[in-house]
Symmetry: C2
Subunit: 237 residues, 2 copies
């Protein structure tokens, strides 16, 4: 936790914030070993960040002075990431990685090789997803939460939602064996599509290419989804 | 496991290999649901890979025809990675990530902010390290094991071993706040140094810069070690 992220509910007024949840209180005590008078890095969810003083601390709450927050959060990546739903533990870690890297919009997509049981996982609850996004923001010192959308049907996604997502964005389909190497240093708004373990089936690849995506690859190595997503984002942007 | 990796001990002769360990046998049965006559992707540790037939299968062993292996493994990254020893669970995952990405030489380094207890972790045993390297190779369809060296003293490493490692290699020190952005598309042999959670201390940064490393950064976001290492390798090479 490189940033204490404060939600709107934590704010008492423009100057004071009260943190009351056990997770952040435990972290303040055990990792920061924070004491009254210490200055810590704070951020307002969706807003500014900066340094703020710990004004009081008890087992039940920590009170911070948030009047001095004056820095904008780090820039976002110009990407909408469309990711075949990974298995639950991989999903948890991938949400943290991509949030830390600066992804702000993410669609989790059903594909033929996504196991149906993954859609029943408790990791997909709004609360659990939010928890992993917060961990990513706290890691990277960012304040703006990504938007996560679930797309439980491949065909409806490609037919009804993809065309609008591709307006004003280049579409890139990362898939082994595609003709072009992953480009570097892209600045244009991009939609990046990444398949499941085992890959997209040929019919899915055809639909995505027909919709206007360009096929790209990362070389001959087959990477786990979490490694591949981080590698793609780092090479692209 | 996108590749059944065969060790020299598995080879009976130039044509036959016998797999007897429970891990690979279980994977063959449960994930591949392999049957006699199936053709699978096989690789010889340190050697060629290709397709080979499963000639017999029992609870105790699987016998493969390895006479048809004729492909070179994918190219290695031109990098020697020097990584401050991560905490044990992060080490395990990072070994798999970097092996899958094609790192072939890795030094695990002690620094001021590496917790002493990490050096006592069972994850550092030769067996455990080898297991994670094998998982990385099997994931990426590679056959050449990385060499992992432990450097338990920062000063002896910098004074006695770093100069030789920097002969014929450019040294890059990845550290927040360094002046240059991480370069892209590097082909020159490179030594990449990555610090621990919490970073190098200023004295360590000075020693590494003095030794000839160039400081580079990945932007304002603070990334976990496993995310940062994957991002650096993907952007550099």
């Amino acid at each position: 936790m490189n940033l204490i992220l404060l939600s709107p509910d934590d704010l008492e007024n423009a100057r004071l914030a009260r943190v009351r949840d056990p997770r952040r209180l435990a972290h303040l005590a055990e990792v920061h070993r924070a004491r009254v008078g210490d200055t810590l890095t704070l951020g307002l969810e969706g807003g500014l960040l900066g340094r703020g003083e710990l004004l009081s601390l008890s087992d039940e709450e920590a009170v911070f002075d948030v009047s001095g927050l004056d820095q904008a959060p780090p820039p976002a990546l110009p990407v909408h990431l469309v990711l075949a739903l990974p298995r639950p533990r991989m999903l948890a870690r991938t949400l943290e990685h991509v949030t830390a890297l600066g992804v702000k919009s993410l669609t989790l997509l059903n594909t033929r090789r996504v196991e149906k049981s993954y859609w029943q996982s408790p990791e997909l609850s709004e609360d659990k997803i939010r928890r992993h996004l917060l961990l990513g923001l706290e890691q990277a010192r960012d304040t703006r939460l990504p938007t996560v959308t679930l797309a439980k049907g491949f065909r409806p996604f490609v037919e009804d939602r993809l065309p609008a997502l591709l307006e004003g964005r280049q579409g890139l389909l990362a898939h082994p064996g595609m003709p072009d190497a992953c480009p570097r240093g892209v600045e244009a708004p991009t939609l990046l599509v990444v398949g499941p373990e085992g890959g997209f089936i040929p019919w899915e690849v055809e639909r995505l290419l027909e919709a206007g995506c360009r096929g790209i690859h990362l070389g001959p190595r087959i990477l786990r989804v979490e490694t591949a997503v981080t590698a793609l984002l780092a090479r692209l942007f």
